[in-house]
């Protein structure tokens, strides 16, 4: 994955934060759209069976054999018009053939992550788009054939590279929270917090799309940390309104105080999601259709903070039309961080170790612990000190 731009967070242009609703450890914060427009709609196409699916990935001309395998519950179908006229959401209307579904040896194969379905329609795989970007980070392996790297790493890169995530319905309490959530009238998205840690941010183009896809939140996947937090914490304190009664002289004053409290909590919710909304993100543009750009992003990798990947559709004017994020687990961040450091130092172990401020054996242990032992020759990994990180 190559980044073409860095920005200060997703921002919330065209969106408002409304009052949070908490059930158990899950807190859902509604995002409302200021001006609803009809020229971009999202439908869902659910794949009925639960067989794993492979997706042929294009874009790496030198490696036509690369495939992305995962459990894929559904695809999204985007419909747009360039001149601002209304379009209808269309999802399940597409046949398997139109979606490019083939059966190969018991595995159903989809063609490409993003695929044009005739004029004004685009099929893509939500969240997998972002995850594929994450997995393909420095997927090619060492650029310089240093002697420490194994033959496999030099000829096949990081392949096979794998990460795991948890299906939303396995996140304790998420299903209940989603069921009991009361959808607002102009709502197009939500911030999902589990034990007050940002688990995901979801935005759809149109309120009707959100209403239709709200329950599909449990079919998204979530990071390992989110899964653990949901088990560890029973509930979170509600964002309750508190008014200082001494300051109230009349009903108008009371009304203003309630409005102020509401605004304060909204701002606070925004701060809780600050890592995605305000901190720097690195972007890669995947497709431009009409005035909309489909892009994926990754936050600057810092092992000591929360890190998110995701995908978004942004209008030319900068309004966020669609977005889904995934919170990386600590181990995933560590892996990506090590790869990034290696790539920055041209895969030279000595220089990388120096950049990280450790000795080479310690770096080797870190690589080994991160699951990258297969990149190195066996004799390099022999006689490593134990317990050093």
């Amino acid at each position: 994955m190559k980044f073409d731009e860095t920005s200060q967070g997703l921002g919330l242009r065209g969106l408002q934060i409304a009052a949070a609703q908490a059930v158990g450890a899950v807190r859902l914060v509604p995002l409302l759209k200021e001006h609803v427009r009809e020229d971009l709609r999202l439908g869902t196409h659910a794949f009925g069976d639960e067989r794993p699916r492979a997706v042929g990935v294009r874009g790496q001309a030198d490696r036509p054999d690369v495939a992305y395998c995962s459990y894929l519950p559904h695809a999204y179908v985007l419909r747009w018009s360039s001149d601002g006229t209304a379009v209808a959401a269309r999802g399940a209307a597409l046949s398997d053939k139109q979606l490019g579904l083939r059966d190969v040896g018991g595995v159903r194969v989809l063609h490409r992550m993003i695929r044009q379905e005739g004029p004004g329609a685009l099929r893509f795989l939500p969240l997998h788009l972002a995850m594929e970007g994450f997995l393909s980070l420095h997927f090619g392996g060492p650029d310089v054939a240093w002697s420490e790297y194994s033959r496999q790493a030099l000829s096949h890169g990081l392949s096979p590279r794998r990460e795991s995530a948890v299906l939303g319905s396995y996140v304790h309490g998420l299903e209940d929270a989603v069921r009991m959530f009361e959808i607002h009238e102009r709502q197009v998205g939500a911030l999902v917090f589990v034990a007050d840690a940002l688990a995901a941010m979801v935005v759809f183009p149109h309120p009707d799309d959100y209403r239709a896809l709200h329950r599909s939140l449990v079919r998204d996947f979530f990071g390992e940390l989110v899964y653990q937090y949901a088990i560890l914490y029973d509930d979170v304190p509600a964002h309750r309104v508190a008014v200082r009664e001494a300051e109230i002289a009349d009903l108008a004053g009371l009304r203003a105080a309630v409005a102020r409290a509401r605004a304060d909590w909204a701002e606070f919710s925004g701060d809780m999601a600050g890592r995605v909304l305000r901190e720097p993100l690195r972007w890669q543009t995947l497709r431009q259709v009409g005035p909309f750009r489909l892009r994926r992003f990754m936050s600057a990798l810092r092992p000591d903070e929360d890190n998110h990947i995701g995908e978004a559709i942004v209008r030319d004017s900068g309004e966020l039309e669609y977005c889904k994020t995934f919170r990386l687990s600590a181990a995933q961040v560590r892996r990506a961080y090590l790869l990034e450091k290696l790539a920055q130092n041209l895969w030279d172990l000595a220089r990388t170790a120096e950049a990280l401020g450790v000795e080479v054996p310690a770096l080797l242990v870190r690589l080994l612990n991160a699951g990258f032992g297969y990149l190195l020759k066996e004799h390099v990994l022999k006689n490593l000190p134990t317990g050093t990180v």
Binding site: A20, A22, H184, V258
Partner: protein
């Protein structure tokens, strides 16, 4: 720390009063069924605990709550609890309890009363007192032959348990099997014939005939059309959708006779298009039901404002679909009919309440402020208490309003809650400043409002006992039972 006898006594009285208020409030709304925010199991565990606790600690008052207008589910439950544990009672208490139980059984719908008595059997209790009560109940039934047909299994099990003698041919009918003989009693003979003849089938009560029709594979549409004259009013209401599906138009309903909440539930079951077409008729039915309801339990109010919740949570559960919304709609109609001046504020706002559907978030604070601005004498909030936009807004508005803007208490605020919240052992409260009252049927609003002062915590145990004693007198008189002896 030591406490003087009076202090201890006063503290005990306060605790008793509070416990009883919690219990009564739970009994007004809980039915042990699944709700939007909690499942049926949590509800059952919660209400069973309350019954056990109150019966164990305050048995005398527990029996008297039968008369306080608690809902059928809880009335039946109290009857069972009282009959299943009576070992340590003295004779006077036992007699009083007996009278209350008899009156309660007579006030319950037949299937519920039978089920309450059968629950005693399930507890393994069979004593002289229980048998006497069953005997009294059966002798008070207007038509035991009819019961023997419609509640055949229940009546049979009850007789099996109590060994009571049944009049005429009933004993043979229930225990020797209907195939063995011809009956002189017309209804029993019809039941026998219905197993062979279509004509006789349509003479039977609907619930009995329905099973036989299914066994005989009679077409549903034909069956519904021909059984129509035998349907009760509730069955008619319930079968509207089924009849429409089968293309049967013979099931005309008389909305002018149905209860308020029933009309509201029926109305909400209709698709928006039909509601719009029949708007005038439905509105008239709702208003008529409200007026009828007021004729039975008069209520005269001054300037009233209502804040009514129609948020997504009023969808209820598969067990009680849209019940909270129906109660809000019923209370709306009832207050409009009962008050000199009435304003309603729906959340989320809606132009025509008859078109209301459960949708959107719960913002109680905004509409409540609108209501308070009109300076009414009484503000009624109908909501399940899950106020989420912003959370706790309504409770805070009530608290500050009472403390700062209305210290003299010109405006009374009451929160009516149709939903039992299992973890809280009662209807969920908006805040400490607002009395919260459970309500299952909109018709019971007058009872609930009379109870409001107890829920607010203003009154003492003596007042509560007085209140219960008065209700008991009316209750017993209505059921034609002698007054209590232990009241002196």
């Amino acid at each position: 720390m030591t406490m003087s006898a009076e202090t201890r006594h006063a503290a005990a009285a306060r605790v008793t009063c509070e416990d009883l208020v919690v219990f009564l409030n739970a009994c007004f709304c809980c039915t042990g069924q699944r709700e939007f925010y909690s499942d049926g199991h949590a509800q059952t565990v919660s209400i069973e605990f309350l019954h056990d606790y109150i019966r164990g600690n305050y048995r005398r008052l527990y029996a008297r709550t039968l008369a306080a207008g608690v809902n059928h589910f809880n009335r039946a439950r109290i009857v069972t609890e009282l009959l299943a544990s009576s070992r340590d009672l003295d004779p006077v208490e036992r007699r009083d309890e007996g009278r209350l139980v008899v009156a309660a059984l007579r006030s319950l719908p037949a299937p519920r009363a039978y089920r309450a008595l059968l629950a005693v059997r399930a507890r393994g209790v069979n004593n002289r007192r229980a048998r006497a009560i069953v005997r009294d109940y059966l002798s008070s039934r207007p038509d035991l032959q009819f019961d023997a047909i419609k509640y055949r299994g229940k009546l049979r099990d009850l007789i099996l348990h109590t060994h009571l003698r049944l009049p005429d041919e009933l004993g043979g009918f229930l225990f020797k099997g209907w195939k063995q003989r011809r009956y002189r009693t017309p209804l029993l003979e019809t039941f026998r014939q219905a197993h062979f003849s279509d004509e006789a089938l349509y003479e039977l009560p609907f619930t009995v005939a329905e099973g036989m029709a299914a066994r005989r594979k009679i077409d549903r549409a034909v069956f519904l059309r021909r059984i129509a004259p035998r349907l009760t009013a509730l069955e008619r209401l319930r079968l509207q959708a089924a009849a429409a599906r089968e293309g049967v138009d013979a099931l005309a309903i008389d909305l002018a006779r149905a209860g308020l909440t029933r009309v509201a539930i029926y109305l909400l079951s209709l698709p928006p298009v039909e509601r719009r077409e029949r708007r005038a008729e439905l509105q008239a039915a709702l208003d008529g039901a409200a007026r009828r309801c007021l004729r039975e339990a008069p209520l005269a109010l001054g300037r009233v404002a209502a804040v009514l919740d129609r948020s997504y949570s009023t969808t209820g559960s598969p067990d009680k679909p849209r019940r909270s919304l129906a109660v809000a709609l019923g209370v709306d109609a009832l207050l409009r009919a009962a008050s000199a001046e009435y304003m309603s504020f729906w959340t989320p706002a809606i132009e025509d309440p008859l078109m209301a559907g459960p949708r959107g978030q719960t913002d109680l604070a905004g509409p409540l402020l609108d209501a308070l601005e009109a300076r009414p004498d009484l503000v009624v909030i109908v909501s399940d208490g899950f106020d989420n936009d912003p959370t706790g807004g309504a409770g805070e508005v009530c608290r500050v309003f009472k403390a700062r803007l209305d210290p003299a208490g010109r405006t009374t605020i009451v929160h009516i809650n149709p939903v039992f919240d299992a973890p809280e052992l009662g209807p969920r409260r908006l805040g400490p400043g607002v009395p919260t009252l459970g309500l299952r049927d909109a018709e019971d609003l007058p009872t609930a409002l009379a109870f409001a002062r107890f829920a607010a915590g203003d009154l003492s145990l003596a007042d509560l006992e007085d209140y219960l004693a008065r209700r008991v007198d009316v209750f017993l008189r209505r059921a034609d039972v002698a007054p209590l002896e232990g009241e002196a």
